[in-house]
Symmetry: C2
Subunit: 915 residues, 2 copies
């Protein structure tokens, strides 16, 4: 015996539950209760709690002993309100069994309708309704659903020949219609439906080996179990994985009196949104079908009618709207819409049924919407006085923010076209353009203003100009951290990588995808958010700069509570990020200037430096490099004028920068006047077994102090020149890969010397901040000592994650997938910070640093700086700022504002002032 209350009733303008009991009753159950409390017409029913689902699974998939007794007791209330009785031969009540989790999981779990029909109740129902056809139609629907959902899926009785029972019965129905020459289900006559029902039952017995239960009580228990069981169906599990819904939440079951939209021309069923979910416009938006049950609208068997004038479009304008055919009931529905919006202060997604002219509400929930719609509705509701500023901020998810910034393929268009290949979604938005097979081709197209997509086996630094010029990038190889992916994400450029299906023939200059040959110049469309490739030109929508976005972001700014900077390496990226509200650069990588250019340029000088065989050669190369560094820093500092630029001392992957092909190596050898063998030897000497943990970062400047020296000189000179020119440079220099304060002291001594020299040369004082990246576990442990020298910390959470977990990003992609699938890790730790592990080190680093230096500036410049869940953690940790790629700046700002508002709700103040 259990004392737990597992069953809650609703109906007759009252209910045991209410809207804020979603965790216990599920979203559907809580909202049904709420609608009852609001006085809306809701068929009575009962909700079995999510706790019962948990108990069911804890108890080896058995219902709690007391449950069915409680259900039958609650059914007495339902029967009283509905004026019918379950399993009654005279006036039988039918019910539906529907799932309802805390959060909507549309279509992911199972439903059984028309439960309660049996040889005992059918005659009474026919008599009562006078509609034999309706009853037999309901009966054959029950049989089809029940056999599929309860018998096969929940009870695990599979047909012997491997074909699903639903498919077998569907085929029988289709064959029957064909035999009779019927076009639609509605053409089938009553006696024919009975005949079909009997045939179904025989087939079930034959294929599954057991009888369809001719017992209303057994049907009820089967239905409830089936809904619980479907919580762990394959679809539901996958959906939860994607949406990050915990497995232990469980689902509620709603048992509700059936009302019928399929009782003739005076009956109907429909779904609607209280506002347009695609655009956010304040229009009632929906579809309906006469003489149909709910599943017909969703299933897409019949084209649904428009609800009203606003909902009419090219496809459905010839069909009658509810506004036209049932103006009274439509009016009633409009009133309900107003009541619901007043109560919920949000856009709702509703389901209704009209049974012989009488309107019933079957469901309401906060409606899903596009990013654009989310923003527009939130602003409208602000102006309507329904919600306040903070609520506006909370109404747009950071993921939707991304959508607001990039042109994308129109969703409706995508549905009409076939995906010809799938790859990894590496860069945001969409792109439509002709195929360009190399940088030259892309640049030529772009010069002629022809939109183009760069298609490559994989990209390398020499492709960068083409990547810049193309509208989208598609590669056959590479992962989410490949060169193409990193560059594209940084630029906010649409990009798909690792698309195996793409075969490139550079001789023929063709691309073959799924057997189809595309010539260079043929058009492709990419959905970078999903990794889909289309073989035609699809329509794009551009949702960038508009006054409403400006209004929205200005509200976000009010609550931001933590700075957002950008990771940018060029004046253009810096300007982009400033336009998006970045407060400065949190990570400037001078290595950028080594990409994409050839000849007597920085890359070539760097190669000379790397391949030098003695100090003199290295010094000469470095001397040559210095003015390039100065110019690069100066250009960007000029754009930032007054805003900080955080310069990371060079940390180039040495072995990647050497000439890769034998041809180029021979050329370099010839140029330098040494043998090919000699150059090979020097390149081989750069090989490291685990380059991630080799000669990098601070180590480079300690082993070769002159590498640091020329950088300091370049930076101080750039600063001094800009000051002379009337600019306001805010330079911050950070040492990467630090493990000990002594490294910082070592490098600082060099900086001090150079600073004094440059100050003397220019006759002025240079102010700058000296800090470090915290990206090795030891640095977090020694943060107190480090903060005695560092004026700021910038957490490099990418490397910190690699070393804390022992995960090489280049190698463990598959392992991470396996770990996430097997629930060993909650999420990919390179996307969302591993708060349990890495988070401890981040917190320790911040606390220890601030303990020694309470004014220490602390930021994050790993890719986690653009991940909303991570941003919330960083906010709580007391970071001064996060830094992310320019296109993630608004996302991070929104995440920061939401974090602050959430914290304020709990604590009283939304800025990171530690009050």
């Amino acid at each position: 015996m259990s004392n737990v209350k597992y069953v809650y009733t609703f109906g007759g303008k009252t209910a045991e539950g209410k809207a804020d009991m979603k965790n216990l009753l599920g979203g559907k159950g809580a909202n049904l209760a709420e609608m009852c409390l609001l006085g809306l017409p809701v068929p009575a029913g009962l909700t079995i709690t999510t706790e019962c689902c948990t108990a069911y699974y804890a108890n080896n998939c058995q219902l709690p002993d007391t449950l069915m007794a409680d259900v039958w007791k609650a059914m007495e209330n339902v029967e009283k309100i509905m004026g019918r009785k379950y399993d009654d031969p005279e006036n039988p009540l039918l019910v539906s069994c529907r799932s309802g989790a805390r959060t909507s999981m549309p279509g992911m779990m199972d439903t059984v309708l028309n439960i309660g029909l049996s040889s005992k109740t059918i005659p009474g129902l026919i008599k009562k309704t006078g509609n034999e056809r309706f009853v037999y139609d309901s009966y054959r629907r029950l049989i089809m659903m029940y056999a599929d959902v309860v018998m096969e899926k929940a009870e695990g009785i599979a047909p012997v020949d491997g074909k699903g029972i639903r498919k077998i019965l569907d085929d029988m129905l289709d064959e029957y219609k064909e035999k009779k020459g019927y076009k639609s289900d509605t053409d089938i006559k009553a006696n024919e439906l009975l005949e079909l029902a009997n045939a179904f039952k025989a087939t079930i017995k034959e294929k599954l080996g057991v009888e369809f239960p001719d017992d209303a009580k057994a049907q009820m228990e089967g239905g409830i179990k089936a809904v619980f069981k479907s919580w762990n169906g394959q679809k539901a599990i996958s959906y939860r994985r994607i949406e990050g819904i915990p497995d232990d939440w469980g689902t509620a079951v709603n048992v509700q009196a059936m009302v019928f939209g399929n009782m003739g021309e005076g009956s109907a069923t429909g779904v609607a949104f209280t506002r347009n979910p695609a655009t956010g416009e304040n229009q009632f938006y929906g579809e309906w079908l006469i003489n149909a049950q709910g599943e017909d609208v969703v299933a897409g068997i019949r084209t649904p009618n428009p609800l009203n004038d606003e909902t009419k479009n090219e496809q459905n304008k010839h069909l009658h709207s509810m506004q036209e055919l049932m103006p009274e009931t439509y009016k009633e529905l409009c009133d309900i819409r107003a009541i619901l919006e007043d109560s919920y202060r949000d856009m709702l997604d509703i389901e209704f049924t009209i049974q012989e002219g009488q309107l019933f509400m079957l469901q309401c929930r906060v409606g899903k919407r596009t990013g654009i719609a989310a923003m527009n509705m939130a602003l409208d509701m602000l102006h309507e006085g329904r919600i306040d500023d903070k609520e506006v901020v909370m109404r747009v998810s950071p993921a939707q923010m991304d959508e607001l910034l990039h042109p994308i393929l129109e969703a409706a268009e995508e549905k009409k076209h076939t995906v010809i290949a799938k790859g990894l979604p590496a860069g945001p938005g969409g792109a439509v353009g002709v195929i360009a097979l190399d940088s030259e081709a892309s640049k030529a197209y772009t010069a002629k203003k022809i939109k183009n997509v760069l298609v490559r086996e994989e990209t390398n630094p020499e492709d960068v100009e083409g990547m810049r010029s193309a509208d989208g990038i598609l590669t056959a190889r590479g992962g989410m951290t490949s060169h193409a992916a990193l560059v594209a994400r940084g630029w906010g450029k649409c990009c798909i990588v690792g698309c195996d299906a793409v075969k490139i023939d550079m001789n023929a200059r063709t691309v073959t995808i799924d057997g189809k040959v595309f010539k260079e110049g043929d058009v492709l469309s990419l959905n970078g958010a999903k990794g889909y490739v289309y073989g035609e030109a699809l329509k794009m929508i551009d949702s960038s700069e508009n006054p409403r976005f400006q209004e929205f972001i200005s509200i976000v700014a009010k609550y931001q509570g933590m700075g957002v900077r950008t990771n940018a390496d060029t004046p253009e990226d810096a300007q982009n990020a400033i336009n998006f509200g970045a407060e400065g650069i949190g990570l400037f990588r001078i290595e950028h200037m080594f990409y994409g250019k050839n000849g007597a340029t920085p890359l070539d000088i760097l190669r000379n430096m790397i391949l030098s065989s003695n100090d003199n050669e290295r010094h000469a190369a470095l001397k040559e490099l210095e003015p390039h560094i100065k110019e690069a820093a100066k250009e960007t500092l000029k754009v930032l004028d007054g805003k900080p630029l955080t310069f990371r001392l060079m940390d180039p992957p040495l072995h990647e920068f050497v000439p890769q092909t034998e041809e180029k190596q021979r050329a370099k050898a010839a140029e330098r006047g040494i043998t090919f063998e000699e150059i090979k030897k020097r390149i081989d000497a750069l090989h490291e077994v685990n380059p991630m943990m080799g000669l990098r970062g601070a180590r480079l400047g300690i082993v070769y102090p002159e590498i640091s020296e020329i950088q300091f000189r370049a930076l101080f000179t750039a600063t001094a020149e800009l000051m002379k020119e009337g600019f306001d440079p805010h330079l911050e220099i950070m040492v990467p890969l630090t493990i000990d304060v002594k490294e910082l002291k070592h490098q600082k001594a060099i900086a001090d010397k150079v600073q004094a020299e440059v100050e003397a040369q220019f006759g002025l004082k240079i102010n700058y901040l000296y800090g470090t990246m915290i990206e090795i576990p030891r640095a977090t442990l020694m943060a107190d000592e480090i903060a005695e020298v560092a004026q700021f910390f910038s957490f490099g959470t990418n490397d910190l994650t690699q070393m804390t977990l022992g995960f090489s990003r280049d190698d463990v992609n598959e392992i991470i997938h396996s770990y996430v699938d097997q629930k060993i890790l909650a999420a990919d730790p390179f996307k969302t910070l591993d708060q349990a592990g890495v988070g401890q080190l981040v917190q320790a680093g911040v606390q220890r640093g601030r303990f020694v230096n309470p004014k220490l500036k602390v930021g994050v410049c790993g890719e986690h700086g653009g991940d909303p869940a991570s941003v919330e953690f960083f906010y709580k940790t007391g970071m001064t700022y996060v830094s992310c790629s320019p296109f993630r700046v608004p996302v991070a700002r929104l995440a920061a504002a939401q974090s602050a508002i959430k914290a304020q709700k709990q604590e009283g103040c939304c800025c990171n002032c530690n009050k």
Copy 2:
């Protein structure tokens, strides 16, 4: 004005200092004071404190203002006792200025003797002593030393031509003797010495540009400064670096009245040890020289005479001993020896001078000794009742323990031979043998009982048989973690790696070292502790098993206070370690069975497993592997009977185990019936960018659960079979590379299933412990959760160090050297645990684990388990045991015992019982 007391006087059987004031007065100063207090004849003097040295450096190399005033005041006391006056024209007192740090740094700092001789004092001293020759000899010595130590080194006045002034003056002396036909310094006559002194002074003026100071007071100040300055001389810094002496300790200065061993045939000087420092025998052991100053004995210009009969040997038996020539004074010295040993309860190293028949003690300190001597003396003194058990344990350093276990090259022999090449000291002890260039050659020699050294470019798993059979290993390439180094250390075999000078010609079967060609079969000698190679056969000494060692180790065992296990992979190694007192195996790597064997053996099966293209192939290979694993585990468990064996689940470096040469790859392809291209592809697919952080450890068993399954089955079957056979197997299984408790649960589920099956099969219950390695930073952070499932932790401090510091062992050797040289790191973190950083994680891991499970067994199986300093840290951290290679077991036991005794001194209990 300073209130600090910088000057302490001694002399006349009293002193301001005493023996336990070494930190302030330095070792020499404290011991001089102590000897005065013991009533021994010590020339009076004063000691300037180490604090003054610190003040000198803090004050930019200036003496404190008040110092010289304090010195002159203290000198009044000296003058009174000695009955002479400094800088007095009638009866002048001369002094020496000597360094004296807290710990002995023999010969590393500078000394000036005969200070106080000037044109003002020389005539008086001649008159007083009536020994003109003695005075001028002392004068020329002063000039030579002063010019070198004070003028050139301390004051930085270098000769213009770059040659040191000392060398210039030495050359002048030699030329003078040659010109005169003199053999010895003592042949030079008084007037000739004056002539030389004047020539020296002129040369100093010419070369250094300044005059030698003809002023006793200036000489005194110059001498004091020079000693302080020499604390930061190059030699002293290097020595401190090697010995781990902190730079900020500083040195004291001892200003002491000169007594003269060079006043004629009744004068002498000598050094002695109160016992034999090489063997520990209770014999007075020393050397002396008549008519000489101390430096003559040390400098080796004259062969010193034996002190007594015991000290006579082949080289010096023709020379007269002090016992023979000065029996009275010898008797006096013997009495002093007894007084000192009674007081110090240790062997002492003393210096004395006899001035015209009168004995003076100039120095006493605890004497350096070999490991054998340390042990023998400690046991003798125990039996003599001088020291107790605990003191015996403390008297042998863990580094000396190593020496007690390995045969080594005799030190005296090494001095006589030239080092022809230097490499990295990778394996302990010494080896003498003929060159063998491959495994076959080595095995052939060994079969004929010819000692041999395997010389290879570098070794790989296929060389293992030769490595086993050879007496020593020498490789041209590879670092301290190369295959050869790891294998050799594990076996305690003499090994030198990375010896660049070695050039091997396998065609000619010769080895060229430094231009000299050695044929296979020619002899080499190796000093594995220093990395020295000799081109001849040197004498070896074997200090292994003897009853005294057994006595010593049994005393160590009484205080051990923490378990010591071994890292062993074979029954032989396990037995070795047990003989050395190991309590079990802390790390058993089944990978051992893949090394060194070819054909249809485990290695071959493993290759098939690694190169399998699908699940079936992999399963088949694993099935074949299972009995091999079972046999390997069983053999070793049998040897351990009753002692635990900690089995690490397989963690093979996959890419290393594939066939490396194209020939072998083709053979493998042919054997498996696939193309060469296919096998190449599979091998390439195993390539990882950072293999250290890729598909390893627990990950392997999670991605391929069947790999774990067959291991569990093999282990449980071995256990069950042994139980049936009457053995007592104690199995402990550990999962490597864990980052989360969920990994342990995942693997445990497999283990549980297999355990039940094996138990059913054999009809018995299997007890074993299930635990994990803690070797990734995240594991230390999640240790509380992990301890809910793990019954023991074994810290893998090698990998933990790699990831906490971001140091790939394979790549950062040079960087670490650079970091240690530049004092960024205190020591190589792979040799001695980085307590400041990695130590925090180890502590956190132990504390969190024990918080959840107070009985949690916690051990260490990284190489730090054999490092004394690290062992002390592990003891303090509360580890249950450390595990190290068999030959390190006694070292670790001693370190553990010493740690416990130290802790007991501070706290009251020496076992790790947390009292």
